[in-house]
């Protein structure tokens, strides 16, 4: 049985020119696998991720014909029911640790907060938090436990955030550009951590990114989004056989270390892609 079922998801924001639909009928299912969502800025990939967690920012609204997580209908959950799910069974890693960790709370305390909210004792929470910091390859977990976010480097902060999202062993993790703010060599380390967790814990992962090459090398399956729609879905390994001109265009316009195409092919957007 699939972990997540999304059918005809729509996210709309009211504007002075009338409602703007930024996600327009996205449907997919997710098992215990790594699913990538790729697209350029404004394609609706982040809003898709947020809508699944019920985090569509005000005054936007999300609707769907079906939005089911492990048999639970996510539409119209009360705030209380959401609290029971978010952080515990599904969680989200944001792009930039600088803006998503609480700057005035030590990292360890933030980690424990997740567990305490879901009913663990103080000692239990502390032990689990330290274990989790170790699991994300932080060499000196005690120090990081006591540290405030500004005392950590970008890579460390991102690992701390991943630890925080995983400490409650969720079934579903949505990672929104989790490595875009990181250097390439650290990027690979963070992916390795996520990869291991998916394999060991059988977690479902939605990996949102603008980097088609990275996603294709990391995920099992890729959804390509354009103007709020999924224009193509394919196995990551079959990316080179992409059919849709947008996917092909995205792949082709990247410079390559070995390639010497001059000028680089650019993307001619076709109005019909957005239909």
């Amino acid at each position: 049985m699939s972990l997540l079922n999304v059918e005809n998801l729509r996210v709309t924001f009211p504007t002075r020119q009338g409602p703007a639909e930024v996600v327009r009928g996205v449907s997919f299912t997710l098992g215990r696998e790594r699913l990538g969502i790729v697209g350029e800025s404004g394609s609706g990939k982040s809003q898709t991720g947020r809508a699944i967690l019920g985090l569509t920012p005000h005054p936007g609204t999300a609707t769907a014909d079906r939005l089911e997580f492990d048999g639970i209908d996510l539409r119209g959950l009360s705030a209380r029911q959401w609290r029971g799910l978010r952080g515990k069974r599904m969680s989200m890693v944001m792009q930039d640790p600088k803006f998503s960790l609480n700057p005035v709370m030590a990292v360890g305390k933030q980690l424990m907060e997740v567990l305490r909210t879901h009913g663990a004792s103080r000692a239990e929470a502390r032990r689990a938090a330290l274990e989790m910091l170790e699991a994300v390859q932080i060499r000196d977990p005690e120090r990081v436990f006591r540290a405030y976010p500004h005392e950590l480097s970008g890579g460390m902060g991102q690992r701390a955030m991943i630890a925080m999202m995983l400490v409650s062993a969720p079934d579903l993790l949505i990672a929104d550009e989790p490595t875009s703010a990181l250097d390439v060599t650290i990027q690979i380390e963070v992916l390795r951590i996520l990869d291991r967790l998916v394999q060991e814990r059988g977690m479902g992962l939605i990996f949102i990114s603008h980097d088609l090459r990275l996603v294709s090398s990391f995920c099992d399956r890729v959804l390509v989004m354009y103007a709020g729609r999924v224009v193509e879905e394919l196995r990551a390994s079959d990316l080179s056989q992409a059919r849709h001109p947008y996917t092909q265009g995205l792949l082709n316009c990247l410079p390559q270390i070995d390639g010497d195409r001059r000028p680089l092919p650019t993307l001619d957007r076709d109005a019909s892609w957005a239909e």
Partner: protein, 252 residues
């Protein structure tokens, strides 16, 4: 054309000192495109800023056509060397129109025929006259970066310093800006120094490149050596490997 020798940059705040660049040496020939690659904090952007006088050099020297550069740099220097910054959202004044962004360097340098120069600069970067009286918030990221390139080129400089010119842009827009830079270099015989964290971008744009780490030059490579994966240091090899993407073996 440009000689950087044993360059040192130290930022001092109170008693704290950050040694951002530690003895970097390289030479860029006329008409060449030279790349500097490294991760954040490697000092690559600081080298560029030091060349145009925006970072405090604490040692070494920078010579332009054989003669050391005066500090602070004079107007004649900026007439010949211009810089394009990383973030087109931050580097254009939000309350200045494209027209005033482009007129200011012309006024400072006392150029005549401003009207025509502005029109020509806009045409050259592929923006029409319709963009001339717009504000930055009325432009997309790619269009803003084109304005930044036009602002740098309007003085007809010989060297363009490019600090991550495309890292804030989407892949398809990146291709357009890289093509624009490529074409302008051929047309005008420009010399580029391009800083980037992306090996593919540098390999596409530059004939030679310098790899930096922790403020030091790790190694200098020609493009062919990069393509042949003939890196001499572990660090460069690691960068090369990481640029391919993730591989399942990494999980082991």
């Amino acid at each position: 054309m440009l000689d950087v020798k044993d360059l040192e940059v130290t930022f001092t705040r109170g008693v704290e000192q950050v040694h951002a660049v530690r003895g970097v040496t390289f030479r860029v020939e006329k008409g060449e495109s030279y790349g500097i690659v490294g991760e954040s904090g490697s000092g690559k952007s600081t080298v560029l800023r030091a060349i145009c006088g925006l970072a405090p050099t604490s040692g070494g020297e920078i010579a332009f056509e054989g003669s050391p550069l005066p500090t602070p740099r004079d107007a004649a220097f900026y007439r010949r060397v211009q810089m394009v910054f990383q973030d087109p959202y931050a580097s254009l004044h939000p309350r200045h129109t494209v027209d005033s962004v482009l007129s200011e360097p012309l006024a400072i340098q006392g150029f005549d025929d401003r009207e025509n120069r502005i029109e020509r600069a806009l045409e050259e970067v592929g923006l029409g006259q319709g963009f001339r009286f717009r504000y930055p918030h009325q432009l997309s990221g790619g269009q803003r970066q084109r304005v930044a390139v036009a602002r740098a080129l309007i003085l007809e400089p010989e060297i363009l310093l490019l600090d991550e010119p495309t890292s804030a842009l989407d892949a398809s827009i990146q291709a357009e800006v890289l093509n624009l830079l490529d074409r302008l270099r051929v047309e005008r015989g420009l010399t580029y120094i391009l800083v980037s964290h992306d090996l593919a971008v540098v390999s596409h744009m530059c004939e030679r490149l310098l790899v930096m780490q922790h403020g030091q030059a790790v190694e200098e490579l020609a493009r062919d050596a990069l393509r042949a994966r003939a890196a001499r240091t572990d660090y460069t090899r690691r960068l090369l490997q990481a640029s391919v993407g993730y591989s399942r073996e990494d999980a082991a």
